[in-house]
Symmetry: C2
Subunit: 300 residues, 2 copies
């Protein structure tokens, strides 16, 4: 469970930690980046809330840490940001690196049920169980049994993500009520059962039975949501090629929420923005503020 | 002189233009990125001032546009930002790609005098003559004869840069009084005649006579500066491996300015920061504000 610190990088008065640890869930080493804002680096240490950012296809923990522009806002409000990886790496499964939208760097934030993926492609369990326990502690004691339990507040966690990571943020939020205080997403794959990326991933990881896909599809999950106000912010660029290709389908999520009478989903269509980090960075401050309000850092 | 627009990317309410043009100075196509803030995109167009950012060794125009975090501040104050390339590319000179600190992506922002480099490695002329003329106009008329003369104010230009680009910003500023309203630098190679990077580059581009190097060394140039207040801001991270190796030597620049009685050089040593874009991005807002004050966008 222990983390190895590969690098400690000064950033916006805080520190970006490049970490790795051996995961029993995936059976591989897992890399992650953790930004600690200056508010967490006091003596004695102060616990700060945490925003988890899930990256999109092809990404590592580094892409958003370098290009997402989350750190200035996080340093301003006093929020830690966690950048996990997008899949296990190094399992050397057949076909694992054959395509950019399945296998390595394309884990889709679920636990695969189909061999050979079911052995290690278990990103949902990794992110909701093993990684929090390693960071915060095992939950049995004072909350500071984990490597960063003294500086991270396990009771105040929010989640966000981009594209495949937007799908991950929305589905983990909807599947684990109470685990996160709020959710947001940039250009999420909002109805994966109905798009090419999602069908390929779900067929491969979950098998051909579409019934089993519903439990990992934000648009299906929101229909059964009974957790009250959704506290969800979604941004989509109207110039996004993948939006135009029908890979994202945010309108389906909006319609499902509306039909189910679920309140608290804000979807913004940002004129002319694309699918890149230029889009993410332009609105990351809004997503920091969204999380910060629900984490008690800013007044709502 | 005409630019080809390879991409137009929405960013912070403005637009990042990925441009290329055929340079007669270098004899090659030259790529550049130009960020136009929202203030430049009004109807009719409004002229905004320009900050030129010169990148370090190995970089293209993309690195800082993606990782430098200049756009949010530039959009806030109404400042365009130009990201030129770090050398000609494609000349296929012998040894041009043999090392990362000489030749391609390592042009050192000077006009080489030694063959074969003297044919195309003329980044100083490119940056101070051809590129401004192409952007702003030829100077003979109303100032809007260039491709972006209607939105860029040729009379209000500032310059900044990182590492080799910090050397470039300081030396172009000191060699061309009046061309730029202010200068700043992140971890500049401040006394290239006295460090390994600089000696290799100067020997290769300018020849073995060290006397000729003085005209391209900021520490030497500042001794002869007669332009009054220097309007220079320099940041250096104390955790920067290249600072610790003696490649940057900002103390030599400080001492030379002090001995010459030159005022207006602020050098800040930032505790624990490294040489990366994590360092640049943490202080880019300060450099935007420094330029903005001298460009009349913010009160001093």
């Amino acid at each position: 469970m222990a983390f190895t610190t590969k690098a400690t990088i000064a950033s916006f008065g805080g520190k970006l930690l490049k970490l790795t640890h051996q995961s029993t869930t995936t059976g591989t080493p897992m890399a992650l980046n953790l930004f600690l804002p200056p508010q967490a680096l006091t003596t004695p240490p102060t616990r700060v809330p945490l925003l988890i950012y899930l990256s999109g296809l092809t990404c590592t923990p580094d892409n958003c840490a370098e290009k997402g522009f989350f750190q200035p806002g996080a340093a301003r409000v006093g929020l830690a940001v966690l950048y996990p990886d997008t899949s296990p790496r190094g399992l050397d499964l057949p076909g694992e690196r054959a395509s950019w939208d399945f296998g390595e760097a394309a884990g889709f934030y679920l636990d695969a049920t189909q061999p050979p993926w079911s052995g290690g492609y278990r990103m949902e369990s990794y992110l909701t169980e093993e990684l929090p326990a390693a960071l915060f502690g095992d939950g049995s004691g004072s909350g500071d049994g984990g490597a960063y339990g003294a500086v991270l507040d396990r009771a105040r966690v929010a989640i966000t993500g981009h594209s495949m990571g937007g799908h991950g943020a929305l589905t983990l939020y909807l599947r684990h009520p109470g685990l996160y205080r709020s959710v947001s997403a940039f250009a999420p794959i909002a109805n994966p059962s109905e798009c090419a990326w999602g069908r390929k991933a779900f067929a491969g990881y979950l098998g051909p039975d579409r019934e089993g896909w519903r439990a990992h599809d934000a648009t299906e999950l929101v229909r059964g949501w009974t957790g009250g106000d959704l506290k969800a912010l979604v941004d989509v660029g109207t110039g996004d090629q993948f939006y135009k290709q029908g890979q994202l389908l945010p309108e389906n999520l909006e319609r499902a929420a509306r039909e189910a009478g679920v309140q608290g989903l804000t979807v913004r269509y940002q004129e002319g923005y694309d699918h890149s980090y230029y889009f993410i960075s332009s609105f990351s401050d809004d997503h920091i503020n969204h999380a910060a309000k629900h984490l008690g850092l800013l007044s709502e």
